[in-house]
C-alpha cells in the first residue's frame, strides 16, 4: 500500500492534505491494533513505528510528510527524461538519465536517513 501512495505522490504535486485520512487510519486503527488501544499520540511505540526498520521502527511512512519530498525527488531524479519529453533538452541520452537516477536515489536516501536518524535521537534522548 505504501508503495502505491508513494508512487502517486511522485507523479502528482501538492497532495498533502488528501492523505490525512490515511494518517488517521494508521494512528487510530492500525497502530492500536499492533500495540493496544491505550496508546496516546506521543507514545514511544507510535513514534518508533514511523522510523525505518534499520532504526528500530516499522517503516510506516507518514504520507502527509512525504508528499513534497517525493514529488521533488521524483522531478529531480527524472529531470533529464522530463526535459527530453518536453523538448527542452537537445537530446535524450540513456547514460545521462541513468546517472541522474543513480545519483538522485543515493542523495534522496541519504537525506531521508539523516532526517530519520535525527528523529530517533530525539526519541532516545527523551526516554
Amino acid at each position: 500500500l505504501q508503495q502505491e501512495w508513494q508512487f502517486l505522490q511522485c507523479l502528482t504535486k501538492g497532495l498533502g492534505l488528501e492523505f490525512e485520512g490515511i494518517v488517521q487510519a494508521l494512528q487510530w486503527d492500525f497502530l492500536p491494533a499492533l500495540f493496544g488501544d491505550d496508546l496516546v499520540d506521543d507514545d514511544y511505540p507510535r513514534q518508533l513505528a514511523y522510523l525505518p526498520v534499520r532504526r528500530v521502527g516499522l517503516a510506516i511512512l507518514d504520507p502527509t510528510v512525504s508528499t513534497e519530498s517525493n514529488w521533488t525527488a521524483s522531478t529531480v531524479i527524472f529531470s533529464h527524461i522530463i526535459a527530453a519529453i518536453q523538448g527542452t533538452t537537445a537530446e535524450f541520452r540513456s547514460a545521462d538519465h541513468s546517472a541522474n537516477v543513480a545519483t538522485g536515489k543515493v542523495e534522496t536516501q541519504e537525506q531521508n536517513l539523516s532526517k530519520l536518524q535525527a528523529k530517533l535521537e530525539v526519541i532516545l534522548e527523551n526516554l
Partner: protein, 130 residues
C-alpha cells in the same frame, strides 16, 4: 512483456519522421499516447490503424480516451464521433492522472478512500494474529 515491447518498436518511428510530425507520442509497452491538435491526432490514429495490424498491433478505438480542456469537450465529441473515443476532461494515465485538476482531485480522493479502507481491514487482521 519486454520482448513484446521490442516487437512493437517498428510502428513507433513511422510517425516521428515527416508523416505526422506534430504529435507527441509517449509509448509504454503497447500503451500508445498522442498529444497534439484534433486534426493531428486523427491523422496519427489513421496511420496507426494502417500500419499497426501488419505488426500485430490492433487498435481498439472504443477503448481510447481523449483528454481535452473542459471547454473543448463538445467540439471533441463531434470531431471524434466516428472513431468512438471516450471524451473526458481528465483521466488516469499510467498510474498517474492527466487533465483537469478538479477531476484529478476526485480521482485522488477515491484512491485515498480505498487505501483507508485497506488499512482498516489490515488492522482487523493484525488484531487477530497478534
Amino acid at each position: 512483456m519486454v520482448a513484446y515491447g521490442i516487437l512493437l518498436l517498428p510502428p513507433h518511428p513511422f510517425a516521428q519522421t515527416d508523416e505526422v510530425p506534430d504529435v507527441d507520442q509517449p509509448w509504454y509497452i503497447d500503451n500508445a499516447g498522442a498529444g497534439g491538435s484534433f486534426t493531428s491526432i486523427q491523422g496519427y490514429f489513421k496511420k496507426l490503424q494502417e500500419e499497426g495490424p501488419r505488426r500485430g498491433y490492433l487498435l481498439e478505438p472504443l477503448k481510447s480516451i481523449l483528454i481535452v480542456q473542459p471547454h473543448k469537450k463538445v467540439a471533441a465529441k463531434i470531431t471524434f464521433k466516428v472513431l468512438g473515443f471516450t471524451v473526458v476532461s481528465g483521466a488516469h494515465y499510467l498510474k498517474g492522472f492527466l487533465g483537469d485538476p478538479a477531476d484529478q482531485l476526485v480521482w485522488v480522493q477515491e484512491k485515498t478512500a480505498s487505501w483507508v479502507e485497506a488499512i482498516k481491514e489490515l488492522s482487523l487482521v493484525a488484531e487477530r494474529y497478534l
